[in-house]
């Protein structure tokens, strides 16, 4: 069994990395230059967080793997991201729905982690939480603007949130590994964040004149490496150079 802290840091890092990669797919294709800019902005923040968490993960593992080795030389089943972040972009409403749901959970998680007994985690979280707070703002604004915009944007935004609903619960799951890490003050108790998430999420959704759908059968598995069909396809692209030239440094 791998070191629990190593596992945990991969979860934190992979969430950022995989979502950053999805955001990169928008490059040059956003609805306006301004949106292109703000998507790139979020992508950069997430990439930076991924580097910090994965570098630390590699150190904890102690087998000489750095953040690039972890990003570029693991198979899909070795990734520990939640299912939500690996979902394809869909239209702009879906992308913003995903961003909103993820960022809101992430802000709460990072906030809690600023008090982690692991000072390295606490430091990274302190830096990252400010960035993610801005992502919440930006994506909330879009949820509201699209929800309360035209009939078409309202419909798309509602469908966007609806499409990702089944992936929300997974972000608040606390398995044995995290329970233990939480009891020693390293990890945060994800379950404790759910109330605040629901409160703030509902607030935004209501301002957006949208309706929260009744809960669906929740899906999970990402933390154990059980992903959907799209992750391996995304990694084939992301890792192609590193795989084709294993001896090269870039």
């Amino acid at each position: 069994m791998a070191d629990p802290l190593f596992e945990y840091l991969q979860r934190l890092g992979d969430d950022s990395l995989i979502l950053a990669q999805r955001l990169c797919e928008w490059c040059g294709r956003a609805p306006s230059v301004e949106v292109d800019l703000s998507i790139a902005n979020m992508g950069l923040d997430l990439l930076g967080q991924a580097q910090l968490f994965l570098a630390y993960a590699g150190e904890i593992e102690g087998k000489g793997r750095d953040e690039d080795a972890l990003a570029y030389h693991r198979d899909a089943a070795e990734f520990r991201n939640c299912l939500l972040v690996e979902q394809p972009n869909g239209d702009f409403a879906q992308t913003m729905a995903r961003q909103f749901l993820f960022s809101l959970h992430r802000e709460l998680l990072l906030e809690a982690l600023t008090a982690s007994s692991d000072t390295r985690i606490a430091e990274i979280a302190a830096k990252a939480v400010k960035e993610v707070r801005y992502h919440v703002e930006l994506s909330s604004d879009w949820v509201i603007r699209l929800g309360d915009g035209t009939d078409e944007s309202h419909r798309r935004m509602e469908e966007g949130l609806d499409w990702f609903w089944r992936f929300v619960d997974e972000m608040f799951e606390l398995d044995a590994l995290e329970t233990e890490l939480a009891s020693s003050g390293i990890a945060a108790d994800r379950r404790a964040l759910r109330g605040e998430f629901d409160r703030r999420m509902t607030e935004v959704v209501e301002r957006a004149t949208l309706e929260v759908k009744p809960s669906q059968w929740p899906l999970s598995g990402g933390r154990r490496g059980r992903h959907g069909e799209e992750l391996s396809r995304m990694l084939a692209e992301m890792q192609v150079l590193a795989r084709a030239y294993p001896d090269a440094r870039w």
């Binding site: 990395l17 990669q21 990169c24 797919e25 490059c27 040059g28 294709r29 956003a30 609805p31 306006s32 230059v33 301004e34 949106v35 292109d36 800019l37 790139a40 902005n41 992508g43 950069l44 990439l47 930076g48 991924a50 580097q51 994965l54 953040e67 690039d68 990003a71 570029y72 239209d91 702009f92 409403a93 509201i144 603007r145 699209l146 309360d148 915009g149 035209t150 078409e152 944007s153 798309r156 692209e237 992301m238 192609v240 150079l241 590193a242 030239y245 001896d247 090269a248 440094r249 870039w250």
Partner: protein, 310 residues
């Protein structure tokens, strides 16, 4: 006529012309064309680089590339704003781009085929852009000149990053070095074409120079680029794909071979290798984003009404 004389005088004295100042229509038109072309180039230029963003081979390189593309989007924005001060809306400029009426730099119609191309673009394309743009920091139109100051600073940063990327490749495996050489082989000539047609086929140069919209001729800038870049290629240990390239002691410049002007004019005409794909990508992005922009407008309108009602 008095206005014209006064205008010409101010320009000759290197004073800045500002949006509310009087200016000749031809000056305004030339500027709009030039600035919007430059803005379009920044935006279209995101595509060939974006092509490798999802495949960047390390997280650090991915972040550098993403930051670079982000800068380009930012440059596009400044420049659209500068052009808007001349009375042309962004909507109009974008429609001109999509209809093929407005141009963008020919270089972005070439494909990025390997990761080394990202280095070559930074080094050569941004390098050539800097040559063009440094003098424009003293261009006669104030908003344009000020945009250029900021842009030039970032571009030279990008150029160093591109060079650094290639440096890593030439010090890497044989495949990496070959990749770098191949990239230089493909991007060299298109980079020289970035400076535009030779002076004797560039009829508006004289007027543009008098108006300080241009401050050096195409051939002068091209020569300066070659002189600066060839030693850098040597530093990288890469061969410039020009058998006629030699140092001319007498001139104190490099002599170089003839550019394939037929190719240049074909690409200008819209027949570049990926010209259709680039325009389609931009048009698709714009069309598919229409509902988002409409929603944002509708929301603003509602908000305005609400604050009025409140």
């Amino acid at each position: 006529p008095a206005k014209v004389a006064r205008f010409e005088e101010r320009v000759a004295a290197d004073e800045f012309i500002e949006p509310n100042d009087w200016m000749p229509e031809a000056y305004r038109k030339t500027l709009v064309r030039q600035i919007s072309q430059h803005a379009h180039s920044e935006i279209v230029g995101m595509l060939p680089e974006g092509n490798w963003l999802t495949r960047a081979p390390s997280l650090a390189r991915k972040a550098i590339l993403l930051a670079k593309i982000q800068d380009e989007a930012g440059h596009g924005l400044y420049l659209y704003c500068a052009a808007e001060t001349l009375g042309t809306s962004r909507q109009e400029m974008i429609e001109a781009l999509h209809s093929g009426k407005a141009k963008y730099s020919t270089i972005f119609n070439y494909p990025t085929l390997t990761w080394a191309d990202i280095g070559a673009i930074g080094w050569l394309v941004d390098g050539a852009a800097i040559m063009n743009q440094v003098p424009l920091q003293r261009t006669s139109y104030g908003p344009y000149a000020r945009a250029m100051v900021r842009i030039c600073k970032e571009e030279s940063f990008h150029q160093r990053q591109g060079f650094d990327l290639l440096l890593q490749l030439v010090n890497g495996t044989p495949e990496q070095k070959a990749m770098a050489q191949d990239a230089l082989g493909r991007w060299w000539w298109p980079s020289l074409m970035m400076f535009g047609p030779p002076d004797d086929q560039s009829p508006n140069t004289a007027r543009s120079m008098r108006w300080r919209i241009k401050r050096e001729t195409n051939d002068e800038l091209r020569q300066r680029f070659v002189d600066a870049t060839v030693p850098q290629a040597e530093l990288l240990g890469l061969k410039v794909p020009d058998p006629d390239l030699t140092w001319n002691e007498e001139r104190g410049h490099y002599d170089f071979g003839e550019i394939d002007w037929a190719e240049f004019y074909a690409v200008v005409r819209g027949d570049g290798p990926l010209a259709k794909e680039r325009l389609k990508a931009r048009r698709d992005a714009w069309d598919q984003g229409a509902w988002v922009r409409e929603a944002a407008d509708a929301y603003e309108a509602k908000q305005a009404q609400r604050s009025l009602a409140a």
